[in-house]
C-alpha cells in the first residue's frame, strides 16, 4: 500500500512539476473558462431573476469542456513523449500510476475552478460560498477518475479528440445532474443540498473503485 502511494505521489508530482515549468495547460484553461462565462453572460441576457437558474448550467458546461482538455492531455502528452511505455515497464502498479495521473489532472482542473468560481460569481452575481466550492470539488474527484480512464483508453488512437468526449460525456451525466442540483441549492434555489452531495459522494466511490480496477487492464496492454 505504501509503495502504491509513493508511486502515485511520484507520478502526480512529476506531472504537476512539468505543468508548473511549461505552463501549457492551466493558463489556457483559465482563459477558456473566463471566455466561456463572458460569452454566456452576453448570450443569455443574465439578470438577478434568472442568474441562479442559468449560472449552474453555464458552470457545468465550462467545467466539462475544461475537464475534457485537462484529462485528455494527461495521457496524450505521455504518448507524444513516448514516456508512458517507460513508466509502464517498471514494476510499479498500473493502478498507482493511473491514480497519480488522475490526481495531477484533478488538481489542474481544481486550479482552473479557482478561476471559474469567482469569475462566475463576478459576472453572474451569484453567491460564492463554501457549499458551492464543496459541491464542485466533490464532483471533480469522480469526473477526474472517469476522464483519466477514458483518456488512457483513447490516447493510443488517432481520433482521440473526438472519441474522448463521446465516451466520457455520457458517464459524466450523473455528476452533472447531482452536481447541478447541489450548485443550484448552494446558489439559493430550493432543494436538498445534502442529498445531492451524498449522491455525488456515492458516484465518486463507485467510479473510483471501477476505474482503479479497470486501470490495470487499460494501461498494462
Amino acid at each position: 500500500m505504501n509503495r502504491s502511494i509513493a508511486v502515485a505521489y511520484a507520478v502526480a508530482r512529476k506531472d504537476l512539476t512539468s505543468e508548473w515549468r511549461t505552463r501549457e495547460l492551466v493558463p489556457a484553461l483559465g482563459q477558456f473558462v473566463v471566455l466561456a462565462l463572458v460569452i454566456a453572460n452576453f448570450g443569455f441576457q443574465i439578470d438577478s431573476r434568472n442568474a441562479t437558474v442559468i449560472a449552474p448550467g453555464v458552470l457545468w458546461l465550462a467545467l466539462v469542456f475544461a475537464g475534457l482538455v485537462a484529462f485528455g492531455r494527461a495521457f496524450a502528452a505521455e504518448r507524444e513523449q513516448a514516456s508512458l511505455e517507460a513508466m509502464l515497464l517498471t514494476p510499479a502498479s498500473a493502478a498507482a500510476i493511473f491514480a497519480g495521473k488522475a490526481i495531477a489532472a484533478a488538481l489542474l482542473l481544481i486550479a482552473c475552478e479557482a478561476v471559474l468560481l469567482p469569475a462566475l460569481s463576478l459576472l453572474f452575481g451569484t453567491p460564492f460560498n463554501a457549499e458551492l466550492v464543496a459541491a464542485v470539488l466533490i464532483a471533480t474527484i469522480g469526473m477526474a477518475a472517469l476522464g483519466c480512464l477514458f483518456a488512457a483508453i483513447v490516447a493510443r488512437v488517432r481520433s482521440r479528440e473526438v472519441l474522448l468526449p463521446l465516451l466520457t460525456l455520457p458517464l459524466w451525466i450523473p455528476f452533472i445532474v447531482a452536481g447541478g442540483q447541489a450548485v443550484q441549492v448552494a446558489m439559493g434555489a430550493s432543494g436538498n443540498y445534502n442529498q445531492a452531495v451524498a449522491l455525488l459522494i456515492d458516484f465518486d466511490i463507485l467510479f473510483l473503485v471501477l476505474t482503479s480496477l479497470a486501470a490495470r487492464f487499460v494501461l498494462d496492454d
Binding site: A10, K14, A86, L89, T90, P91
Partner: protein, 214 residues
C-alpha cells in the same frame, strides 16, 4: 542457466506478420546482436523480449519465468532502451532519473553514479528537453540501467551517440545479458559474441559474430 528461451515467437498485426516463428536461446551474460534491414522485425522482437508487447503465439521464458504471465515480476530485471528516448522534457536529467527511482523502488543514491556512468554529470540539472539528441540517448540508457537489470534490451542504442558511444555501451553491457538491435555490423562485432539476422520477420540464422558478419 539460460537467460532467454524463445520458441516459435510470432507477432501478427492483422494480416501482417511482423515476426514469424523465431527461436532464440541465450545464456546468462551473453551478448546477442540482432541485425536486419528496416522492417525486418528487430524492434518487434526486442519489444517482446522487453515485455512491452505480447507475442501473438509462441513461448518465451526469461530467467526461467514466463514472459507473458509473469512479466510484472520480470520487469525489475529488465532494462529497455527503445527507439524514442521517452524522457520528460521539462524535468532535469536528475529529476528524470529520480522519478524512475521511485517507480523502481530503488535508492536515489544511484542517480549520481548513473549520471557519471553515462557521462551526464555536467548537465545533470539541465532540462531533458534542452539536452542534445545524443545526451538524451545517454540519459535513456542511464534510465535503463538505473535499477541494476540483469537483462538489457537495446533497440539501436548507438543512434545519435557520439564517438564515445561504443565505449559507453560496452561499460553498461558489462556483466549483463544483452540483446542489441543495430544496423552497425562493426558495433555488433565489437560488443556481441553472437548474432542473429532477421528478414521479413524470419530468422535467417544465428551464429558467432565471425560467421555471420563475414
Amino acid at each position: 542457466m539460460s537467460a532467454i528461451v524463445a520458441h516459435e515467437l510470432t507477432q501478427r498485426y492483422g494480416s501482417e506478420v511482423a515476426l514469424d516463428s523465431v527461436d532464440l536461446a541465450l545464456d546468462q551474460g551473453e551478448h546477442l546482436a540482432v541485425l536486419g534491414d528496416n522492417g525486418a522485425g528487430k524492434t518487434t522482437l526486442l519489444r517482446i523480449l522487453a515485455t512491452a508487447a505480447r507475442p501473438t503465439s509462441g513461448r518465451l521464458e526469461i530467467f526461467g519465468l514466463d514472459a507473458v504471465r509473469e512479466r510484472k515480476a520480470l520487469r525489475a530485471r529488465i532494462g529497455f532502451v527503445a527507439h524514442a528516448p521517452g524522457l520528460y522534457p521539462a524535468l532535469s536529467a536528475v529529476e528524470n532519473l529520480e522519478f524512475f527511482c521511485a517507480l523502481h523502488d530503488v535508492d536515489r543514491k544511484r542517480v549520481p553514479e548513473t549520471l557519471d556512468l553515462v557521462g551526464l554529470t555536467d548537465v545533470a540539472r539541465r532540462p531533458a528537453g534542452r539536452l542534445s539528441r545524443g545526451e538524451q540517448q545517454r540519459l535513456a540508457i542511464g534510465r535503463a540501467v538505473l535499477h541494476g537489470p540483469r537483462l538489457l534490451v537495446l533497440d539501436e542504442p548507438d543512434a545519435s551517440l557520439d564517438s564515445g558511444g561504443p565505449d559507453l555501451l560496452a561499460s553498461v553491457m558489462r556483466d549483463r545479458t544483452v540483446v542489441l538491435a543495430t544496423h552497425d555490423h562493426a558495433l555488433a562485432n565489437r560488443l556481441c559474441q553472437r548474432t542473429v539476422v532477421l528478414r521479413n520477420g524470419r530468422s535467417l540464422g544465428a551464429g558467432t559474430r565471425l560467421r555471420v558478419v563475414r
